[in-house]
């Protein structure tokens, strides 16, 4: 019961923000929810949001895990996605023909690279105990150059029927492929959490590493594991991003996505200091960010100025979600409740020993 409540509150804020944003969009135009069918696939604002947020959702899931276990964030996720997808593109282009088989092989290879990157970051964090942000700063700095080197040239194009189907729509299926891939990823992740103790272990390590060790958990291994999982997340995100774009731009692919991923974790009500986490919170947080971006565009804010508006919005959100405001909000509701309860009491008291005193009668009524 209490957990339901706590979890309810955790997702309450991002959900209500989503609601407000949608409301703003509806004021702007009542056709916000309208969905049209073009070439047998669904298009419209909602599908576009789901489509656009795919990579961010996947990255923020991995980011949540890493945050929980290591009490820090990986700022190299965007760069890592650029590297994994460059490997994907390189293998695909050198394979000769592009078939479902070569795509699969190239994708799996990029996942392996993702795991290698996760191992690298994980080693720095778990074994050498470098602060996660500092540890991942290394790759953040060097990563896009590495991706460029793997590409071998500027922005190789993979324009091709099959990859563009992955990036947009497979004929006969009405939903855009990245949306389906994201949904599959979320389901697989839910299964992972359900069939393993990843959540319990990661929360225990993040909350009290010493106690976790004394209870037989290997904190180093758990941190490694979460960074490797994040590595897989970057590979999947990179895969989606590159098939969407149809070419590999190692400089601009998923640029600045790491900050949005961290933000999604925070908006989802997760403590950035590690410990307890809620994946659903982060997912909602990721979609909220996407909706925010698109709302600002729709309100015809100058694209160059969007970041400033976004910052203001996020500051408001963070202040609202802070424990300080939460506490005083709780105090406020208690105060209102006690005033209401008190008014009833006063009336009964009046009835017993001060009947007929009109002044207290009035005040009691007013309070009611």
């Amino acid at each position: 019961m209490a957990k339901m409540k706590a979890r309810g509150f955790q997702v309450f804020l991002p959900l209500s923000v989503l609601a407000i944003l949608i409301f703003i969009n509806l004021i702007k135009g009542a056709d916000y929810f309208s969905i049209s069918i073009i070439h047998g696939a669904l298009y419209g604002n909602i599908p576009n949001i789901l489509f656009g947020a795919s990579e961010l959702v996947i990255l923020s899931i991995g980011m949540t895990l890493v945050t929980s276990s290591s009490g820090g964030q990986d700022i190299s996720v965007g760069v890592a996605a650029a590297i994994t997808s460059s490997v994907f593109v390189r293998i695909l282009l050198s394979a000769g023909g592009i078939t479902w088989m070569t795509i699969l092989v190239a994708f799996l290879a990029s996942c392996v690279v993702g795991i290698v990157i996760g191992t690298f970051n994980g080693a720095l964090v778990a074994v050498f105990k470098v602060q996660p942000m500092v540890a991942t700063l290394i790759l953040y700095t060097a990563g896009r150059s590495i991706a460029f080197l793997i590409d071998g040239r500027l922005s190789p194009v993979i324009a091709n029927g099959l990859t563009s189907q992955i990036g947009s729509v497979i004929p006969g299926i009405p939903i855009q492929t990245p949306i389906i891939l994201t949904a599959v990823f979320i389901v697989l992740f839910a299964v992972l959490l359900k069939t393993t103790n990843l959540k319990l272990y990661s929360q225990a390590v993040g909350n009290n590493q010493k106690a976790a060790r004394l209870n037989g958990i290997n904190p180093v291994r758990i941190k490694f594991l979460t960074y490797m999982i994040l590595g897989v997340c970057t590979a999947v995100a990179g895969f989606i991003a590159v098939t969407k774009a149809g070419r590999h731009d190692s400089v601009n692919l998923l640029k600045f996505v790491e900050m949005d991923a961290i933000l999604a974790v925070a908006i989802g009500g997760n403590a950035l200091g590690g410990g307890k986490f809620s994946i659903s919170g982060s997912i909602i947080g990721a979609y909220t960010i996407e909706v925010l971006n698109r709302t600002l565009l729709r309100l015809e804010v100058d694209p160059e100025a969007i970041k400033a508006f976004k910052a203001v919005f996020i500051i408001i959100l963070m202040v609202l979600a802070s424990p300080v405001v939460r506490e005083s909000a709780a105090k406020g509701t208690r105060w209102v409740r006690s005033r209401l309860g008190g008014a009833v009491q006063i009336q009964t008291a009046v009835g017993i020993d001060a009947a007929g005193l009109p002044k207290s009668d009035i005040s009691a009524k007013r309070e009611e």
Binding site: L200, A211, L214, G216, I217, N218
Partner: protein, 495 residues
Amino acid sequence: MQGICKSFPGVRALHNVSFTLRKGEVHALMGENGAGKSTLIKVMTGVYGKDAGQILVEGKAIHFRSPQDAQDFGVGTVYQEITLCPNLTVAENMFIGRGRYAFVNWRRMKEETTRLLDSLGIPARPTQALSSCSLAVQQMIAIARAVDMDCKILILDEPTSSLDEDEVQKLFSLMRELKSRGVGIVFVTHFLDQAYEISDRITVLRNGEFIGEYDASSLPQFELISKMMGKALDDVSQMKKMKKHEPSAQDSGEPVFEATGLSSAAGVRPFDFTIRKGEVNGFTGLLGSGRSESVRAIYAADKVTGGEIKVNGKKVKIGEPIHAMKLGIGYLPEDRKGDGIIADLSVRDNIILALQVLKGFFKPFSRKQAEGFADEYIKRLNIKTASINTPIKSLSGGNQQKVILARWLLTHPEYLILDEPTRGIDVGTKVEIQKLVLKLAEDGVSVTFISSEIEEMLRTCSRLIVMKDRAIVGELTGENLTESDVMHVIAGGGE
């Protein structure tokens, strides 16, 4: 303080509690776990607001909005769990949060700290990191800090729970000194003898309610205990009976755990140790004698640097706690907050943690199974919690300890190590835990029990290993198990 009420979600922590502190007196605040002592103190010091009632200082009603507010009024506090910054130096801790200036005069700060430490006889250097001091010294530094702030009212929340007898006496003389200067001292403690030794008056709380205020000199100890527990004296007499109860440890039992030449990175000298099936033994010695470090070496909580270990006669290697767990060893650590609880996780997760880890990463308990375990042990150990999903950090200290105990009982260990399981716990729970230890031993579980209260160890253990300066200096069994024998061994050994 009059008619103080305070509730938390699901729990009414204080109901109509009154408390009066006079100038220049030591006033003991007593009660069992969850009686509301800590809550009352937090209201007193402005950490929590009050739901109803008023606080009067020198006849004037006041309202503390924050701890800073209370501090400015001359209310100084030293909490049960040390709330200083371990990674700062002693001097920094002494002055942190007190400066009204933007700049720090490091030299003066150091001098002042040295003077203060010297005047109170605290063995620490100002430039030393706080974490490198023992718990006892940290506690005394916290008190020194409060003293230095010229407080009119000094609140000591279980200051003696980690001090040895000598240090307690030092603290008491300090308290008497402050008393003569007109400081009113609120003294929260579980130690009855200490309460009688130092206090003028005693206020008793039970289940968040005010039971009464008494003159220490006119309240017999038995009556105080029964007032705290809210029961007739049955339980107390049971406690006495237990004293006579000779634990049924047979020297003939099979050795469950044997160590030879065991040493660890924490600096215990290589030691030999054996425990038999169904035996309750204990490590005793003053604080810092290495008793905790010894059991940590057994469990591989610290890095083991040498020695051989046999479990049930078979040679094994214990390099990590998980190895010990798999061999049926459980360990309740001394530092509950730092090593025991996973503060943000629920009572349920904290209870199932060890068993879940033993079961394996890929075999999580179903929600129903986990809840079943938690419910069973909450009932069995009578853990007071709003629900099984409450974060453990919002439970009182004694109930947190029971949760950790439940965690290990759930794994059905063959050998259970309990390091200070009764520290900071009320009389009733203490007796419960002692009974539980004896019951476990009867069922064939071997237990190593460590406690700062020697009398408690004499009651539960059939063999005591005496330590001094990180080495074993003697072993006592049978009729040699008396307080004076222990003192004798500590005094005589290891010169």
